[in-house]
């Protein structure tokens, strides 16, 4: 118990003094996660919107597929990206394995289905409401999608935040493709796993506390967003 108490004490010291190693790990975590979510949104918003309003053969299969991919096991995604990026793999020449870029790729693969599937659902509901109005105004495909994306903006931020939550907490995929290399690819989750197994509880606890705080922040953001949207009847 004394060890635990000491570990908590050191953890708070690390946080309070903004320990440079702690900060480096947090910064990389945020960089990887935010970049991955950004790319996932750039792909997922238009993809989800298209699935919501377009009618083409195979659409049903794609809809089911995006929903199914939401639950992809991270370690499997990690393995697939590893095979892709490893020296023998098709993208081996890029020499990306064990780099932050590899981690961003893996997390993008994990988050894109989440963003796309949620976007499709939100946009489809809104399209049900707007369809005849937009048609009667003579809005083309582009104007229709642009209108829907903007008017669903609160919901879309929700989808992005769901992606942030997933990516921040994920450990399996980034561990495999990043390799958890000190000062290069160590993010919060992989550091916690490593430090804990080494018995270095202070850093693990410090990172754990920060991770929980971030998760609380993301959820508070979601709640605040929802309230703000409802107040304006934009929900």
């Amino acid at each position: 118990m004394q060890d635990f108490g000491a570990a908590f004490g050191s953890a708070f010291t690390l946080i309070a003094t903004a320990d440079s190693e702690l900060m480096e790990i947090i910064a990389l975590s945020l960089r990887v996660t935010l970049f991955a979510v950004l790319v996932a949104c750039l792909i997922g918003f238009p993809l989800g919107a298209t699935l919501a309003i377009a009618r083409f053969p195979g659409r049903g299969v794609l809809v089911v597929l995006t929903s199914a991919l939401m639950g992809l096991p991270p370690v499997v995604v990690g393995l697939a990206v590893y095979l892709l990026l490893s020296n023998a793999g098709p993208l081996g020449v890029l020499r990306l394995l064990y780099s932050p870029t590899a981690m961003i790729i893996a997390q993008t693969v994990l988050v894109t289905p989440i963003v796309a599937a949620l976007t499709r659902q939100f946009i489809e509901d809104l399209y049900g409401e707007y369809r005849e109005l937009l048609e009667s105004m003579g809005a083309g495909r582009g104007a229709t999608i642009a209108t829907l994306l903007w008017d669903a903006r609160y919901s879309l931020v929700t989808a992005a935040l769901a992606g942030v939550g997933r990516a921040l907490a994920e450990v399996g995929a980034v561990m495999i493709v990043g390799g958890n290399i000190n000062h290069v690819t160590r993010v919060m989750t992989t550091s916690i796993a490593l430090e804990t197994s080494r018995g270095e509880l202070a850093l693990a606890l410090g990172l754990g506390i920060i991770l929980v705080l971030m998760s609380i922040l993301v959820n508070a953001g979601l709640i605040g967003l929802k309230a703000s949207a409802e107040r304006r009847a934009y929900a």
Binding site: E129, L133, L134, E135, S136, G138, A143, W150
Partner: protein, 259 residues
């Protein structure tokens, strides 16, 4: 007049000219033996109907008669199973020439101003011309004080006014209104009726679905009475109310009086 057929202009004029009070009105659109079927049911049955250019036409009839379907046909949202819709003698006119206001207004999740601005952008009005037109529309709808409020938190009457001026944004030739003042109180109804009169005075043809014979009497030049997907009777407004010819219209009007 020696030459009855002057050289025809290739393109129609940009806006319908205001109709002189006593002129013979031209036909703006004709539904020619239109039938509309869904799920094996004939919802509109051999409907033939000519709407004159300019003025206000009231479309009346009991629930389920096919009034909303007729508006949606005119707006191009549905196509006839049989029959044709003929516009001014030429091919279908652009969407922005026909504006439809739904019974329950559909407003964008934006401010009142942004609703109008976005409609203009969809109609292809360049950005630099929009803000002046938006101000004009806010003025017409008496919405200046509400311009920066989210449109969907407004009262029912205010929302309906936003939907109306948004429909007028592109200066349509025909304005289709589906029970615009259903469930509104008298002042809100009066505001809507003012907008309808103003639009008609600007030369916009208005087709107004209404259940209020008082409103139809106040606004309409002529009345089309639908019953079970057919036109049962049509004619100038006072005559229709004073001397309805068909048993269906008489029963309907008598029923309205009782309510």
């Amino acid at each position: 007049m020696p030459s009855v057929e002057p050289t025809r202009k290739p393109a129609p004029p940009p806006a319908a000219p205001p109709v002189p009070a006593v002129a013979v009105r031209q036909v703006a659109v004709t539904l020619d033996r239109v039938t509309f079927e869904r799920g094996g049911k004939r919802l509109l049955d051999d409907l033939t109907l000519s709407l004159t250019r300019g003025g206000i036409t009231a479309l009346m009839g009991p629930n389920g008669a096919g009034k909303s379907l007729t508006l949606r046909l005119l707006a191009g949202l549905i196509t006839p199973t049989q029959g044709r819709i003929v516009w001014d003698g030429d091919s279908p006119i652009p969407a922005r020439d026909v504006a439809l206001v739904f019974q329950k207004p559909v407003l964008f999740r934006r401010t009142v101003r942004a609703n109008l601005d976005h409609a203009l952008s969809i109609y292809g009005v360049p950005r630099r011309l929009r803000s002046a037109r938006v101000d004009e529309l806010l003025e017409i709808g008496q919405l200046r004080g509400l311009a920066d409020r989210p449109a969907r938190v407004l009262s029912g009457g205010e929302q309906q006014r936003v939907a109306m001026v948004r429909a007028l944004a592109a200066r349509p030739r025909i304005l289709l209104l589906d029970e615009p003042s259903a469930s509104l109180d008298p002042p809100a109804t009066a505001a809507i009726e003012g907008l309808v009169r103003g639009a008609a005075a600007d030369g916009v043809k208005v087709v107004l679905v209404t259940h209020e014979s008082g409103q139809a009497r106040r606004l309409a030049d002529d009345v089309v009475f639908l019953h079970r997907g057919r036109v049962v009777e049509c004619g100038p407004s006072p005559a229709f109310f004073d001397r309805p010819q068909s048993a269906e219209a008489r029963a309907y009007l008598a029923g309205l009086l009782l309510v």
